[in-house]
Point group: C2
Chain length 187, copies 2
DNA sequence: TACTTCCTTTGATATAGGTCAAAAAACGGG
DNA sequence: CCCGTTTTTTGACCTATATCAAAGGAAGTA
């Protein structure tokens, strides 16, 4: 979904306002494997992913690569804690496919919030959506078995399953790659 | 913290606006064990907890009582998914102590959002805070051992530990009461 | 103070999922 | 199309935590 359509699907922005908002975003065409945000630095950019796929990940105490979240077409992407609170990011953001992104800086976004009450409302609704996604995952992780989580995952992101390495999905689900492989073998 | 002070700590509301906002909240003095929202119904109320303690919980497939979240002094409480999306609540909200609450209906809150841009901003920031809390817990649950989660918990909510039954804390942490008891015994 | 109910601890045993290791399969650049 | 690299599968074994059961403590009420 195009950014313009996404915005309009949430709030009924007047034409002129919409144009101003859209012009604050900068188009970026980037290759697979590009790191668009680095752990340890403040992530000052919010991305809309029009096409492509990405993940946030970090290396845990034992040095293992842990995928925290996936971002696919039609979603906003950033390192949330870092972006919202100007803290150093705990995560890297890495493109898993060639992607088409629209980027806006935090300063420009705040400017939009100041100028357009509808944008402020859009922002609130967007965060509520993120909160819902987060709660869904929290629930899945906390109270379901590895197999149930796997089923939850392929239900939520059916295509994603074929687009990313198994290991990323496993760590996202909080299980090992071996366990995920075995679960899959039994279906 | 009083509701008024909380509001002012986030946004610099003008006096008159603040009064109008505050008058949309209704004070409620309620006893321990009161259920302020029932699973299966839409939760149309947002509560500010000035004093007291509560939890959200549900009964899982095996009929076990699972605590999903705690709400203590100086926090907003509701069944989020239900409140934001008018869906039936998956959770009960139960007071764990005699409490002093300030309640506002979703309709009244939406009215405040329409009337006061600063309130809209407050709403966005509040949701961002909730999102941060949620991510902290998700992280703890997903990648830490039972013991680490326990330590995370007593760090985040030191007093709470002495105010609620062990079983509630255990299910909140995604472990059994017995395991939590054993962890505690070894410290 | 005793009775009832609720809460916490302790013990014995079972199991889901982790770890380590190596083979097999799939992928990608030249 | 081939070779090195990455990804996935399979096997053997281990550990953290669950489950089941029962005893001990604490707390509220009459």
């Amino acid at each position: 979904m195009k950014l313009k359509d996404y915005l309009l699907s949430v709030e009924d922005f007047p034409e002129e306002e919409l144009d101003q908002i859209l012009s604050s975003f900068k188009q970026q065409v980037l290759k697979k494997n590009t790191i668009v945000a680095k752990a340890g630095l403040v992530c000052n950019t919010l991305y809309y992913m029009e096409k492509g796929l990405a993940r946030s990940y970090y290396n845990n105490a034992e040095g293992k690569d842990i995928t925290a979240w996936f971002f696919n077409e039609g979603n906003f992407m950033t390192s949330m804690e870092s972006f919202f609170h100007k803290k150093n990011s705990a995560y890297h953001l890495e493109l898993l496919e060639d992607s088409l992104l629209y980027a806006i800086s935090k300063d420009d976004l705040d400017q939009l919030f100041l100028n357009f009450p509808l944008m402020e409302r859009f922002g609130r609704k967007l965060v509520i959506k993120l909160l819902g996604d987060m709660m869904g995952k929290l629930n899945a992780i906390q109270f379901q078995t590895a197999k149930e989580r796997y089923l939850f995952m392929i239900n939520e992101y059916p295509d994603l399953y074929y687009r990313v390495p198994l290991g990323h999905i496993a760590s996202y689900l909080g299980i090992t790659q071996e366990t995920l492989s075995r679960i899959r073998a039994k279906n």
